[in-house]
Symmetry: C2
Subunit: 331 residues, 2 copies
């Protein structure tokens, strides 16, 4: 693992949108530890990921600005002196995107134009790292899925996320804003939104396991996914911004060893004594369910020297330990 | 060529968004001739394609409703009794999309959600044919380009168009709205927007040739494109809506025999006596120029029996003849 990037962040003026959210706050903690000048932008929209407790203990090392990435004049101002912008703010629920596709469009698609226009007009030298998603691939034609795979999103959220990603590449190629996109797989770990089940399934299972409730495994439980521990995800993000090799690139950030939902539930059961059971898919969920997915991460390994380091069991242990202590702040 | 589709349209309640525009009005004329119940929706935004002269002679056979596809309540009402919706309204200038990306997003991306939500809530049985674009492929990896080619738009317009396309597939797969997308190549012919050069290059060259002005061929003129005569394009659209085989599909609509810009200019020169000359690319244009492109149309040939029928020279002759008579209405 290339750790030289750590020096890059000392005194570096960075901004994290969605900075009070799950991945954003874990990233913020690393940036603060590395001595960066950290500006966190978050709208604290209820039920999204923003949570002030996520920066517990680092309040003095970061600056928090409550704002919405949809607001052009605000973004114009905030980007001005930032050398690196981590664009993590987003609406991540597939189900919500189907119920209210316009809000999803505003947050995931239009706001990316807003941030990029702010950079184009007011800070064209900024580096921008966009948090994309493996969802854009839809139902894979082959496994593991590399970045050459067709983009074929199965829900509105996936469409808006891929439009947001493409904007970054066009602003990179046409206006010289230095941008890249990381297609993140299912990320789990401390500091996630845990109030409802519409976000990551691993964290929801952790909540059920911690509470001694029954985990529901849809279908026959054989669907495969790659579950990425948040610290590994943060490391990929830090590397991508620090390296020029990532510029203009789309990079998968995932795990090339898959886990089935049944294995996930069984692992949590052995760790916590919780129970799990099979449950049928709803029609809506079934129509948007992309089936087996896991990432080919050879490109990011080659370009940035990154690989996932945390075995599932270890990641789950850290996650469970965190929420056992802090659950009052998350559910 | 399968012509059975013609019967499908007798008395059929159809709606064409962008119905006073270039392709929309040519489609409207065919629909009127086939005896369909035709509703044309157009916003008549200046400098876009809408032109009341485009329906000259068929005014009594069509109903015109001036409205903007961005307006949800209007769309909710207009879609109600329509069996087929041809979704052709769009902002088609690459250059405008870079100057004002938000308007492009509103028209090409958000408005597609607006129309599809109108169908989902008020007319889920509607068939929707979306006018996509070959632009979504960006710089091709291989030629001719088939529908399996990666989507990699090189400008904001291409991104918004592909998001609009993906929405159709998701609303088809998740909500049962019967939709397909046709990825149209460079279409030329009568009834286009001819006031400025930001739309199709062939029609702009025709204007220059008709006026005896000099056509400017960018670069060395060897860039290849497939230029499709509008009547052939309209036939593909009519077939796609009439056939169940097109549902859920993305289909290229183009010409698998390419033409260089130099050949285009030389052909127009021999036909009209006009002049042409080489001109350098602007930096902005160069960055968005996707290079050689022509379509593999084997999929639509196989599924719908469609193929382009009009040779370039014949299409240009018809186009020139039309504008010589009607230029007062177009420039």
């Amino acid at each position: 693992m290339n750790l030289e990037y750590r020096e890059f962040y000392r005194g570096r003026r960075v901004m994290v949108t969605g900075g009070l959210g799950f991945i954003g706050s874990n990233l913020a903690r690393q940036l603060a530890a590395l001595g960066a000048d950290v500006l966190l932008v978050d709208s604290l929209i209820p039920d999204c990921g923003g949570n002030l407790f996520n920066i517990d203990g680092i309040e003095a090392k970061v600056r928090v600005n409550i704002a919405d990435v949809r607001q052009q004049s605000t973004m114009n101002y905030l980007v001005r002196d930032r050398e690196v912008i981590f664009s993590l703010a987003g609406q991540v629920s597939h189900i919500d995107s189907i119920r209210d596709p316009f809000t999803d469009l505003e947050i995931n698609c239009r706001s990316q134009l807003t941030i990029l226009e702010a950079c184009r007009r007011h800070n064209p030298a900024a580096k921008v790292v966009y948090a994309g998603t493996r969802q854009v691939y839809g139902r894979p034609d082959y496994l593991p899925v590399n970045e050459r795979h067709l983009v074929r999103p199965t829900d509105v959220n996936g469409i808006n996320k891929v439009a947001g990603e493409y904007y970054h590449l066009v602003y990179n190629n046409v206006f010289g804003v230095r941008a890249c996109s990381l297609r993140l797989t299912n990320v789990y770990g401390p500091r996630a939104q845990m109030k409802h089940s519409r976000y990551g399934v691993v964290n929801w299972f952790v909540r059920l396991a911690v509470d001694g409730e029954t985990m529901k495994v849809f279908g026959d439980g054989t669907i495969q996914r790659d579950f990425l521990y948040v610290d590994d995800c943060v490391e990929a993000i830090l590397l991508a911004a620090a390296s020029d090799a990532a510029r203009t690139e789309i990079l998968n950030v995932g795990v090339d060893v898959p886990t089935t939902f049944r294995e996930l539930a069984e692992t949590l059961t052995t760790m916590t004594g919780a129970r799990w059971e099979f449950a049928p898919f709803s029609a809506e969920r079934k129509a948007q369910e992309p089936g087996d997915f896991y990432s080919d991460v050879s490109k990011i390994r080659r370009l940035l020297g990154w690989a996932p380091r945390t075995p599932l069991r270890e990641g789950l242990e850290k996650t469970i330990a965190f929420y056992r202590v802090n659950k009052a702040h998350y559910w």
